[in-house]
């Protein structure tokens, strides 16, 4: 038997040392402001939650293209999105964080910025041309830009064009027309409205709440409500659910038992007529069906309310504790270029719109129509969790799923929702 330098005792001593080191790391809740560890050299570390195979590949292609330019270098680390979400606070508060992280615009990014955890990327923004003011607005926190949007997408009521043609249904624009279309589809023996809000994707139901609220009460009220300035038990919110009740009989009764992927299958196979969903529906649609997919804007309920649309924006932010500030900014700058955004869209499924208007999108009729819809929109909202917080999302899931199953209990549902939300806002 050969002897190695590695003995059991040294192993145990090593274990002990590791334990001691973690303990010396101090109290778990401490958030020291000084940055320790990490070196100023080496590639920019990019922590990505784009773990779907096509998106992961697209990210890698993007990083490779950046590295080929010969300037600063970057390296990619992809993490499952659920892990990423729960670990993000740890990434940001660690003394040696990843330099760049994928995230989305909205209040979550702002709350991190308020705590001084995000790098001020205003000078990256100042060199960017063509980005819309709306995008700049949602990337700004107290006068500084802290977020680099790279793409956005839209929500709408998706349907199969061939089925609508077969049933003799045309795209409704008002709520009355919408209900009429539902009646027609129902008369053909098909469930008019599909839903995929089971325990794995309950947040899909929030799309309905968001859209009904911005159509009934407007985008400003919606944002204020999510920020805790109004109560979910307010009469305005009751109005939203009264409106929802008129369409609820047309919903798939199994909608809260299906994942959104299963609901997509139902839509594609003609078991349901339409579904309120984001363009990511196209990611799971077989290629031969994509051209048959159409969408229409969420119907108008109150013509006096300015038309706002949901346009969730994705992108990147950087840690304020990065040691590689210049390289990080170089990388973020690259992400805003036409070249980078086109490269990314080409490798991914092409269901989103590039943030840089000079970059070409997928160019399909559906994407072009969506882009026009957003350009004409009076206001843009993100999505429930993006306009509020990931912490508030579960309260909405509980309330909305219960409403869909037991609409008669709406009064108690809304008071319960308000008391659950209050705890989140207070903490």
């Amino acid at each position: 038997m050969t002897t190695t330098g590695f003995t059991r005792r040294s192993f145990l001593a090593g274990l002990g040392a590791v334990g001691a080191a973690t303990a010396l790391g101090g109290c778990v809740t401490s958030t020291g402001s000084s940055a320790g560890g990490g070196s100023a050299t080496g590639p920019v570390t990019v922590q990505s939650n784009l773990s779907a195979p096509s998106a992961k590949q697209a990210m890698q292609a993007l990083i490779d293209a950046f590295n080929k330019k010969g300037g600063s270098q970057a390296s990619l680390n992809t993490v499952a999105s659920e892990t990423f979400r729960t670990q993000l606070p740890s990434y940001l508060t660690s003394s040696n964080p990843p330099d760049v992280m994928t995230w989305y615009a909205g209040s979550v990014a702002r709350s991190y910025a308020d705590k001084g955890l995000l790098l001020d990327v205003s000078d990256v923004w100042s060199g960017v041309t063509g980005y819309s003011d709306a995008l700049k607005q949602i990337s700004t926190d107290s006068g500084k830009q802290i977020f680099i949007p790279t793409s956005y997408y839209f929500w709408g009521l998706f349907y199969r064009k061939s089925n609508f043609a077969k049933w003799g249904v045309s795209e409704p624009t008002t709520w009355a027309e919408f209900l009429q279309a539902c009646e027609t589809i129902k008369s053909k023996g098909v469930t008019p409205i599909g839903l995929g809000a089971d325990n794995s994707t309950p947040w899909v139901a929030s799309g309905w709440f968001d859209y009904l609220n911005i159509r009934v009460n407007g985008a400003t009220y919606h944002r204020e409500l999510l920020a805790g300035k109004h109560s979910f038990a307010d009469p305005q919110v009751h109005k939203v659910f009264d409106q929802w009740k008129t369409a609820l009989p047309h919903f798939d009764p199994k909608g809260t038992a299906l994942s959104f992927q299963d609901a997509t299958t139902n839509l594609l196979q003609g078991r349901t007529g339409m579904m309120l969903i984001g363009t990511f529906l196209l990611d799971t649609t077989p290629k031969e069906d994509v051209d048959d997919i159409g969408f229409f804007r969420f119907p108008v309920i109150d013509p006096s309310v300015p038309l706002a649309e949901e346009a969730p924006t994705d992108g990147f932010f950087a840690s304020s504790r990065t040691k590689r500030t210049q390289q990080t900014k170089d990388f973020l700058k690259y992400l805003t270029t036409v070249e980078a955004q086109e490269a990314y869209l080409k490798s991914s499924s092409g269901s989103s719109l590039p943030a840089n208007p000079a970059a070409k999108d997928a160019g399909t009729a559906l994407i072009t129509k969506g882009k026009e819809m957003l350009n004409k929109a009076a206001d843009l909202t993100q999505f429930f969790n993006r306009d509020s917080s990931d912490a508030l999302q579960p309260t909405a899931d509980a309330a909305l799923i219960k409403f869909i199953q037991h609409p008669e209990q709406i009064d108690s549902i809304l008071t319960d929702w308000q008391s659950a939300a209050k705890k989140i806002w207070a903490s």
Binding site: D198, T256, A391, K423
Partner: protein, 309 residues
Amino acid sequence: MTATLTAPAAAPPSPAGPRRRRRTLSPTLLAFVLVPLLVETFWVFWPAIQGVYLSFTSWDGVSPAVIVGFGNYAELFSDPTFGKAFLDTVLWLVLFGGLSALGGLGMAMLLLKDRRGVGFYRAALFTPVVFSLVATALIWQAIYQPDGLVNTVLGTLGLDSWQHSWLADANTALYAVIVPALWRQIGYVMVLYLAGLKGIDPTLYEAATVDGASRWQQFTKITLPQLSSVNSVVLSVIIIDSLRSFDVVWALTRGGPYHSSELLSTYMYSTAFQSLRLGYASAIAVVIFVLAFGVILTYLVRAFRDADA
């Protein structure tokens, strides 16, 4: 954890008492005791103490924690979701624990005698234990789908009115989750009981048969008393497994719909990592710890006192 607990059941009690040999401890031996203790302290005790400390704070994982005293514990009392999760956990303990003990014992009795093919049945019952619970949950998720196996079978039998969205219906979700958990646990408990049953001296039964004891008498007067040491192990395992049941519930329902299948463990997780209220979640964790520790400690103390007597 469970492996160490099962050990005393499998090994017959040592006939000789503890050896008492006076000897100074060698430094090596001391190191073998102290180093693991140190590691345990830093990796287990220290985080546990941190957890208790956190339960007295309000912390979102990013900002500095704020001490709130007993605020989190006071909130537990007025939190209807916590109350629901607590009752569900008790229900889980009773149903999951009780049925797996009964089922495990029943299966062990049934499969005790060596008959043709009995090895196959034992293996078949034990197989679910080998699967990860998350994989198990995926299988059962497919079974419970609106168009899944359960509803299809009910439809074929003409019981259409019994068809349900099992996991999405607040009335059935918790029970629908208990079934896969039981499916797995029964095999495990069966193996524990099989080991115990094999250890019973067959002459006891022979004597009882000669005395004209009925099957039931043999069971209550011989089998059950002889199994008392295994019972304490099974009970500990069941209580620990019930209170830490998380994976199967999370994978199937995430505590939903609207908290109807919420256990303390899932509520703790969602409070910590979805609502980012780590202080409050720590308070829930402390409650779980006290429950598990309290129940097991009282039982073990009593069991060992009985054993010593």
